[in-house]
Symmetry: D2
Subunit: 238 residues, 4 copies
């Protein structure tokens, strides 16, 4: 078990009108991750609504802020018990046997156009040893071909753009890896967290985006950028 302590500070300026926020900054409550203690401070006298997703333990905070400044401070101590498994047991699950709640994660999504990548992914990865090895090969391919460069992408950048332009930030690495997994029928999803142990050269502890892949009977964490040690990632959302 690993105990990690972290804090987040966000500062907004709201102009003209009261604005709705949906924030996903609370540490998730999952089978592997428990919150030992946590603290939230808002600079405006607002009672936020916190909603916990019953399936994933993700916690969303909704609030309406008045015009002016809004400072959000959150800190938490979490205990994480990573489940590890030997590669040989991380097998791909035939579509016919996937649990129904996992099926949505083999379909394309806004940033992961796996439908367009079927030939591409089959040519690159179709012949590889299935399971952990194939997923790791996809991760290696993405990491090897994509340059990590701050500011190189924006909110419209998708997996197809990242294959073409070969540059991006953590969310782009994640979108591309997810799209390629789904294109060969491996369920994969986008996860956000705090990168406790990130390479300091990449900046201070910050939000991070990474990937979970469904193998055997569980979701396993993969970190395609290579800048953050997976053991230091605090799950926030999926």
């Amino acid at each position: 078990m690993i105990r990690l302590k972290f804090s987040i500070d966000l500062n907004y300026e709201i102009v003209d009108y009261a604005s709705d926020f949906i924030l996903n900054i609370h540490a998730a409550q999952t089978r592997c991750q428990s919150v030992v203690e946590e603290q939230l401070n808002l600079s405006q006298p607002i009672a936020p609504l916190i909603y916990t997703d019953p399936t994933y333990g993700t916690r969303y905070m909704r609030l309406k802020a008045e015009p002016g400044l809004l400072a959000v401070h959150y800190d938490a101590t979490v205990d994480i018990a990573h489940h590890t498994e030997s590669p040989g047991r991380l097998e791909e699950v035939p579509i016919a046997n996937l649990p129904p709640e996992v099926l949505p994660y083999i379909y394309p999504s806004r940033y992961c156009q796996s439908d367009r990548l079927h030939r591409f992914a089959t040519r690159e990865f179709g012949h590889l040893r299935q399971g952990y090895w194939r997923v790791q090969a996809i991760l290696d391919w993405v990491r090897h071909r994509t340059q990590f460069l701050s500011g190189s992408s924006n909110g419209s950048t998708s997996a197809v753009d990242t294959i073409i332009e070969q540059v991006g930030v953590c969310r782009d690495f994640a979108h591309l890896m997810i799209a390629l997994c789904r294109a060969v029928n491996i369920p994969a999803r986008f996860v956000t967290g705090i990168d406790y142990g990130a390479d300091p050269a990449m900046g201070p502890t910050d939000f991070h985006a990474y990937v979970e892949v469904f193998l055997g009977d569980k979701w396993y964490l993969f970190e395609p950028t290579g800048v953050s040690p997976p053991m230091g990632l605090v799950r926030i959302g999926t």
Copy 2:
């Protein structure tokens, strides 16, 4: 209450390898729609797995078919009790008050890039009377500007393409209407069904795609193409 009876026949040829199918052809079981009787016939001796989504009542059938021909026949009699409401009571719900399970439907998706359409939708629809009238205005805009033309789009066509090219089939009308609704923070989602009463000039009874929008405290059906009377739509999936 309306009672409708319909049948679906699908014919596949499976080459080389046994293939997985995920079919969504069963009539959904919802608060408004109940299946009086139904019948499924498969030309191969397969025991399909039928899964009912607990939230939406959508039924998915998974099966693995052997190489050769596969004929799927399904027919059903359903009773539909449409809930109708006067426009004045169909109000938009502020983000702060949306039920958590509705929130996913204000985010962009594979075919509905509402994130890119915020300025566009605000300029066209931002000043309109909110609620039913604004949704109806979006529907009218989509219907007026998009030509219904079989074969004019493909599986990669998205809302952004349809705005630009102004041509498509039912799924394209639906994707565009959904994207524009979400771009002004109105939850909207893609629904599939059987168009019992479709204009015969458009072909025989067939699958149809349309839209549900969350107003007041319910999802309401909108049919942007204008080719199918909403009262004749049998819900299959969402």
Copy 3:
């Protein structure tokens, strides 16, 4: 006739390897614009190759710079004799009568996908009074729907993106106006210049992109952003 004097200063840092530059900063030599005097200074001892396009009078300077700093200074005094014409004489030319050298400018290009905009442009502008009035209506439409915002686009942004996102800088306004003109068979092309008289709130005298449209028997200048008075534009290239 107008006499304008301007200067350009560009500073580069070349790293690792000697680099090729193709610069288009010299005032063009056209029937309407003559260079009274000009001066070029380079901080490296390089003999640049200057090439004048025989058709358009555009002057390209090629040079190979060594690693280190490169400062380019250019200033010029130009006399411009704008040709003006009354709107009633600016007629559209039927495709059958277009001079052959004008034909390339009704085809789509990298940033002006007029092929995809045929229905769109026909619906918006197909019924309008032809000639100057229709071109002006396209200009007004672009100006009215597009927000000028520095940094809002990048080198991949095209006319289709700008219609959707409704934001951009001068080159995006120009690409969109050109694409819409070509989509209704009006030849249009991209022009670059120096915006001598630009609104100071938009920054110092700078490079500017605008549009020329072929009407009657000549190319006429249109400035879709509205930030630069057309009379103050010194032609550099097309």
Copy 4:
């Protein structure tokens, strides 16, 4: 020298209005290709305007056809003297030394977004032996990764789409090869012709799209699909 004889038959139905046509079906007149004899028949009594591009020898025919049927028949006998050269003499030309009239062919175009492919092409081809070998490697890469499939693309499909979807027809192979060449600063352009010796399995003699690349001091023909022997291509346009 090779003597080839071919014919083209095109049939149109013009509805409602007289329509302008710009056809590029005449054999080009180039240094390597001369027209021994040719014949044109139109089923409507029209005098077409034929324009020969002074730079490339491409011949465009413009005509205005009345409502009803229009049949176009063209046949020609051409002599082609292919210039061949040993690979070792087909060197890339540094940008600084490219003839000015060749420069446009290193820039991106509607279907060849070389600007987005710089990292991609540099990673794949940047380290290869320059000249003929690098161009041939790009051709092999495109041919190996792209499936030739009739009807798999449309008039909007570009090089970026073809990299992603790995399927297309001759024009898509050509666009992709051109985009990759330009992305490493090798001038390349789109050429159309008649594929006299095409594999009969691919259908009858037809229009074909291929590529010319500027090496040494000339444009050389490359045929990325592999379905047509380069020696049997009659140049029509560029």
